[in-house]
């Protein structure tokens, strides 16, 4: 038996792994900056002040973190069922589109009805886009990684078609500019601002609420129990009478619903209060559909831990913009840095998991079986017990 201190020490170490991973990615980023002839010290000090240095910076960070949190929580639910949802991007677009369509067609019902209505529409849009790969996986055995990626492609084309055609602002057609965007959506559907005249709106609070609900769902309800059971051991769940196929569909549907909600919040919390496309998914989502995955990993695939994780990661993205402006390199740098962060966090995830496993009898020896059956190396998409930073039992 190891002392509690030993366990705590390992946990602390485990939590520092993703942070070290991000720092390593930033070191490579610094090398890239030097190669591009920019001053990395100036750049990185801007990164931190731009993310956390002032009230407006913190506001931006919270707003940037919001879609990450929605997506991260959604990814967590899917991951717990051992399903990898790479379709956050498309689900966000689908949610944004459906909520926009509702807002364009609904009469002005006042904010108390309209805001919940458009958020619900976003949820439904994302849910549909998540249910499709869910059903394809459960009933036809189609790999969800591939189907969700393809649905991302379909979603972006659908967005471009709708915003360039049927949903385009009539004014854009009249003027002949044809910018692919809708007209300004109903004012009563704008997400209410908090704290006076700043940009901060209720989006971040809705996201935090969603994380809490997801936590309760996963650990306090039969549905959540089934999702986790299917994720840990499909065949045992089947013998226990859990409807495995339906559970998989449900997990991906809920995962998509949260991503769709992120899309709706992006539309109705935006400055322009309309949906705009620049032709790419990232133009609308800011790659949150992918970055949310990293936030989820950062948060140890636990809805509540995903809250601070998203905030940190949102800060990194906001600070990245400040860095790019300060040292004047093309904004593509952010995307490249972003990719490096994903690479480093995912590659180091194994060390984190290992530290969170109950202390092994023999350390540093691959040839000996790990003492824990759950989260052993044999089941790689390990949302299983080992990855759980302590929320499961409490």
């Amino acid at each position: 038996m190891t002392s509690l201190d030993e366990v705590q020490k390992r946990r602390l170490l485990a939590y520092s792994v993703p942070i070290l991973a991000v720092l390593s990615a930033l070191v490579i980023g610094a090398i890239m900056l030097i190669a591009l002839g920019a001053d990395p010290i100036k750049g990185f000090s801007k990164l931190f002040s731009g993310a956390f240095g002032s009230t407006s910076a913190l506001t931006e960070t919270a707003l940037k973190a919001t879609p990450l949190l929605f997506v991260g929580v959604g990814i967590t639910i899917a991951f717990r069922a051992n399903v990898i949802n790479i379709g956050g991007e498309g689900q966000m677009v689908a949610g944004g589109l459906l909520s926009t369509i509702v807002a364009l067609n609904a009469p002005d019902l006042g904010p108390f009805i309209l805001i919940p209505l458009v958020l619900l529409a976003g949820l439904v849009g994302g849910a549909i886009w998540g249910a499709i790969p869910g059903a394809l996986k459960a009933y036809y055995g189609v790999n969800e990684i591939l189907s969700t990626i393809m649905l991302n492609v379909v979603a972006v084309q659908l967005m471009n078609y709708l915003l360039r055609g049927p949903l385009i602002d009539p004014l854009e057609v009249e003027k002949g500019t044809r910018i692919p965007q809708t007209e300004r959506l109903l004012e009563s559907a704008d997400l209410p601002r908090l704290f006076g005249s700043g940009r901060f709106h209720i989006g971040p609070l809705v996201a935090i609420l969603a994380a809490v609900v997801a936590y309760i769902l996963l650990w306090r309800t039969p549905i959540g129990y089934r999702i986790r059971a299917v994720g840990q051991n499909t065949s045992a769940s089947r013998y226990a009478g859990i409807p495995v196929k339906r559970t998989i569909v449900l997990a991906l549907t809920m995962s998509g619903a949260l991503c769709g909600l992120a899309g709706a919040v992006l539309v109705f919390g935006s400055e322009s209060h309309r949906m705009v496309t620049d032709g790419s998914t990232a133009g609308f989502t800011g790659s949150a559909g992918f970055n949310g995955i990293v936030a989820a990993l950062f948060g140890g695939l636990h809805p509540l831990w995903t809250i601070p994780a998203s905030f940190l990661f949102g800060g990194l993205l906001v600070g990245g913009l400040a860095l790019q402006r300060a040292v004047q390199v093309p904004s593509a740098l952010i995307l490249a840095l972003n990719g490096l962060v994903v690479i480093f966090v995912v590659s180091s995830d194994r060390f984190r998991k290992r530290l969170l496993e109950r202390p092994p009898v023999v350390i540093e020896d691959d040839d000996n079986a790990q003492p824990t059956a759950v989260a052993s190396s044999a089941d790689p998409p390990g949302p299983a017990g080992g990855a759980d930073p302590g929320g499961g039992e409490t």
Binding site: V142, V153, L158, Y161, A332
Partner: protein, 310 residues
């Protein structure tokens, strides 16, 4: 609609389809090696983008498409080694790590393009090779035997890969490691060494595919692959992990794309519908995945990292 059935339109579709199929063919052939050994590399699109920029930039500076291809190979090898390090040694979640490579490739290729090139300038393409005798056959000559040299080379890689995977010891090890790594390991095959090799081959071919894409088009732009790397991964499933199936799948894709292109040129598809038409490849992929999933199963160890004794 009748414009579509003229000689020139039909030849344009078939010849164009073959041309468009080649980057997909090369990339998914590479991915096949990795997947047959149990590794799903989702980073293909990112590696293609880096290879495309490297190839384009080299040709822009030196004027030699062959040197550009060589740089594509070099970038592919480096990124293949990085991918192998992540998937095999660090045992990263394969469904996600490749997305990181994709984002990096997308951003970094665009960054370098904006920094070093700025405005797109056309470059020298690969030389054309008319196969003597055959290229003079009416219809068929223009469709099949008047292509650039790399296109013939790419198709030659199919039988070569079939031979490697099915007939050589290396190929046998790849299949063993992909189906039953424990058994392969107990027989003394180094699972990680085989996987390092296959993932590096996959990365190399992805880099080559990107370079071919850019040099064949004679241009580079942001996100030039337009998700072709992801389609290439799906094509491996489509082709049921066999080189011949992958060739058929790539050709089908090339032809569909060329057909849509031709229909746009002939204004059969109105401009407003071009976004809808652009969905076709992704929708076909999803449908194809449904059909394939019911008949063939992937290598048993696909996406599962191997740890001895676990």
């Amino acid at each position: 609609m009748s414009d579509l059935f003229t000689q020139s339109a039909i030849i344009a579709v078939i010849a164009g389809g073959i041309r468009l199929a080649v980057p997909l063919l090369v990339a998914s052939l590479g991915e096949t090696y990795g997947q047959r050994s149990g590794v799903l590399n989702l980073g293909v699109d990112g590696i293609m983008l880096l290879g495309a920029f490297g190839g384009y930039y080299t040709v822009l500076k030196t004027g030699s498409p062959w040197l550009g291809l060589l740089v594509g190979i070099g970038i592919g090898i480096i990124m293949g080694l990085v991918s192998a390090l992540m998937a095999v040694t660090l045992k990263a979640e394969q469904g996600i790590s490749g997305i990181g490579v994709f984002l990096f490739g997308l951003g970094f290729s665009d960054l370098l393009f904006q920094k070093w090139v700025g405005t797109p300038r056309p470059i020298t393409k690969f030389p054309k090779l008319d196969i003597p005798g055959l290229s003079d056959i009416p219809w068929l000559g223009e469709m099949f035997f008047q292509h650039s040299v790399v296109i013939y080379l790419a198709f030659a890689a199919i039988p070569f890969s079939m031979w490697v995977i099915n007939k050589t010891t290396f190929g046998m090890n790849i299949r063993a490691v992909g189906e039953n790594p424990e058994a392969a390991d107990s027989l003394g095959v180094s699972v990680s060494r085989v996987r390092w090799a296959t993932v590096t081959i996959g990365g190399t071919l992805a880099g080559v595919a990107g370079a071919i894409l850019a040099i064949d088009l004679g241009i580079f732009q942001q996100n030039i692959t337009n998700a072709q790397g992801f389609i290439a991964i799906a094509l491996v499933y489509f082709g049921a992990w066999r080189p011949l199936g992958i060739m058929l799948g790539s050709l089908l894709y090339g032809l569909v794309n060329a057909l849509v292109l031709q229909m746009k040129v002939l204004e059969i598809i109105p401009n407003d519908w071009s976004d809808i038409a652009a969905m076709t490849p992704a929708v076909i992929t999803i449908l194809a995945l449904v059909v394939v999933a019911s008949r063939f199963s992937p290598p048993s160890a696909l996406t599962k990292p191997f740890t001895r004794g676990a």
